[in-house]
């Protein structure tokens, strides 16, 4: 029963995850499948485990998978380190991206891109090619030139960090992008720009898992499915109309939320 034959980009089956520090279980039997080329949204109350899910998928060492499986692009990945997962084409846009003063934004992006290319057996990106990729993504995301010379997220506002995450995604073109609240802290214009960035990587070959609280982003990035995460599992799934319903009525009416 490998994920290989299912054709799914991501197949999570009965996933349990605990905190390494004290053994608290946060994900309690979560199942989810995202097909190739699909965009799925996850909504859910604060503290329900959305960010935890995103980090567990990316291989954060603070969490242990205590049960279940994660299939990514035909491969079981629970045992892989974060580096290997990223090199296999998984990308996480963080809810709170960290700042690394002293590490150039583009220097870092180039390292990331080259490690991905190396894993695919390709040579390091040339200056010209890198410049082209960066220029394209920067104009798509309406980023000003200061992003070129600044250090990684250093001194960035919350909105600038979010935009920078989407910028990295646009350059790295991952197979699966997990976006943890890319819309929080953005004004309307920035939200539209970020949505455009997300839409730009949509293709039949790529999938997106979008974590958000707001209908607003989902009207710009139209999801194929919406799931509600509560208490560490998916308690309801539906089509795009589910988002509107949640916006109107909150989570209380959903059984298990």
């Amino acid at each position: 029963m490998s994920a290989q034959n299912s054709g799914a980009m991501l197949k999570i089956d009965d996933l349990h995850a605990t905190l390494v520090s004290d053994g608290t279980e946060i994900l309690k039997g979560l199942s989810l499948e995202i097909g190739r080329g699909e965009v799925h949204a996850i909504m859910g109350p604060n503290g329900s485990g959305k960010s935890t899910l995103s980090k567990v998928l990316a291989g954060h060492p603070a969490y242990a998978v205590s049960g279940g499986t994660i299939g990514f692009d035909g491969r079981r990945i629970e045992e892989l380190g974060p580096t290997e997962r990223a090199r296999a084409g998984l990308f996480l846009s963080f809810q709170d991206p960290i700042e690394v003063p002293g590490l150039g934004n583009l220097d870092f992006l180039r390292l990331a891109l080259d490690s991905r290319r190396e894993a695919e057996g390709r040579s390091p990106v040339s200056d010209a090619e890198f410049a082209e990729l960066v220029d394209g993504a920067m104009s798509l995301l309406k980023m000003d030139d200061r992003y070129r010379t600044r250090d990684l997220n250093s001194g960035f506002s919350g909105g600038e960090k979010k935009r920078n995450e989407i910028f990295q995604m646009a350059v790295l073109k991952p197979k699966l992008a997990i976006l943890d609240e890319p819309d929080s802290g953005l004004d309307i214009d920035a939200l539209r720009v970020v949505a455009e960035g997300i839409n730009s990587v949509r293709s039949p070959e790529r999938s997106i898992l979008l974590i958000t609280h707001y209908q607003r982003l989902l009207s710009e990035v139209k999801p194929d499915a919406i799931h509600v995460l509560a208490h560490g599992r998916i308690v309801k799934s539906g089509g795009p109309e589910l988002a509107l319903e949640l916006e109107r009525s909150g989570y209380d009416w959903i059984e298990g939320a």
Binding site: H60, A62, P82, F91, I98, V100, L111, A119
Partner: protein, 411 residues
């Protein structure tokens, strides 16, 4: 100079016997004195100085060496053969020090031989009389934005011995200068000891960049004692990168004497093996509206050790003082350790101070972020370590020493 605190070294603790003995010692850098000095060093070695564990925080201050119970002052009376009528002038050693200036250097700088009688503090004179290389530089007011560049290039310390370079720099009001201290090297493979004694006076509105970088040569002991006095509105920037060596001890003392004087310090230490670096820093806010801003970054591999013992004193009446002192250490080695003792002694009312020290390994969240982008654990660690150091390196003015500082962090 005669009144006010002692220059360079705080000699309150010095035994009266020492002063007496010293007064009998008429300083002259004459070869005749060489046996006396040798005897003195012999005495220091007997006392076990320098050793890694000796008086961790005051090593660069010589006072305790002499004041210790039972230790006789090591001065011998003047050798009988010493001619009494010799000029007490101390020599300049042009080999040890070179000076470079842009444009017409002659106009920018006067070099003068320091006269022993101009000095009133016995400890200072003691230090100078023991100097192997000695220079007194005056940078006159230049009117425009001309930058005088003084380069101190210490000769290698002889094997198994100490070499002291003493430099006094006086920067006239509103003049600008950069003082570069090039790395010292050991001569041969065995122990040697390099000491820098630097005293700087900044006139009103003068500006100085004091830049030094010292990669870690094995088996080299590096000590320094640096004192700066700043008149009204003067600006001092200290940029330093340290590789530790076997043992490094640095004493830095900054006196903000005039209103509105400012100093800022960016200091990087990258230590490996068993290297040790101790820094003892005192900043004195004597006048109102001065600012001092100190940032220390220490990257410790293996079993290295670094400490910053930093005190900021704010005198009564020094209102409008702003002072920051932050020490951050990355602990990367199994047995490495860092200590920071930021201390504030405030006697004024209107003061803004921010002091702190954090020592720890690489943050897991930072590491994870980089890993999640496909960097290997080694690449990620190196990128974070470099980033941590880079901010300090970026603060260096362009030049040779910036390159030296930048190459401290290797895989």
């Amino acid at each position: 100079m005669a009144n006010g605190p002692a220059l360079g070294w705080n000699c309150r603790a010095v035994d009266a016997r020492l002063r007496e003995a010293f007064e009998a010692f008429d300083a002259a850098a004459d070869p005749e004195w060489s046996p006396v000095r040798q005897a003195a060093f012999g005495r220091l070695r007997e006392l076990g100085i320098p050793t890694a564990r000796h008086e961790a925080f005051t090593y660069a201050n010589p006072a305790p060496w002499f004041g210790s119970a039972g230790a006789e002052p090591f001065f011998a009376p003047a050798p009988p053969s010493a001619p009494r009528d010799r000029s007490p002038a101390l020599p300049v050693c042009p080999n040890a020090l070179c000076m470079r200036f842009p444009g017409d250097g002659e106009n920018l700088l006067e070099e003068e031989v320091l006269r022993a009688e101009a000095l009133t503090d016995p400890l200072e004179l003691l230090a100078l009389s023991f100097a192997d290389d000695f220079l007194h530089v005056t940078v006159p007011s230049a009117g425009d934005e001309a930058l005088a560049r003084i380069v101190v290039a210490p000769l290698p310390a002889p094997e198994g011995r100490r070499r002291t370079t003493a430099v006094r720099v006086k920067i006239a009001p509103s003049a600008r200068a950069e003082l570069d201290v090039l790395p010292a090297a050991a001569d041969g493979d065995s122990d040697s000891w390099r000491h820098l004694s630097l005293f700087v006076e900044l006139g009103a509105g003068a500006r100085l960049d004091l830049v030094r970088a010292q990669p870690a040569p094995r088996d080299l002991v590096v000590t320094s004692s640096v004192a700066v006095r700043q008149a009204e509105g003067s600006v001092l920037r200290v940029r330093e990168a340290d590789g530790g060596g076997r043992l490094a001890r640095e004493h830095l003392e900054i006196h903000l004497d005039g209103p509105g004087a400012r100093c800022d310090l960016r200091s990087l230490a990258v230590l490996r093996g068993e290297s040790e670096l101790h820094r003892h820093v005192e900043v004195f806010h004597h006048a109102p509206a001065c600012s001092s801003d100190q940032l220390y970054r220490q990257i410790l591999f293996d079993s290295s050790f670094a400490s910053v013992d930093g005190t900021v004193r704010v005198d009564r009446g020094a209102d409008g003082t702003e002072s920051n002192q932050l020490v951050r250490s990355l602990l990367l080695g199994e047995n490495c350790a860092a200590a920071g003792k930021p201390q504030l002694l405030i006697h004024a009312d209107d003061v803004q101070c921010d002091h702190g020290a954090t020592h720890g390994p690489i943050e897991e969240s930072e590491l994870f972020y980089l890993l999640s982008r496909g960097l290997s654990p080694d690449e990620a660690r190196l990128a974070l370590i470099r980033g941590f150091a880079q901010e300090m390196v970026d603060a260096f003015p362009e030049g040779e020493l910036k390159t030296v500082a930048g190459t401290q962090v290797r895989p």
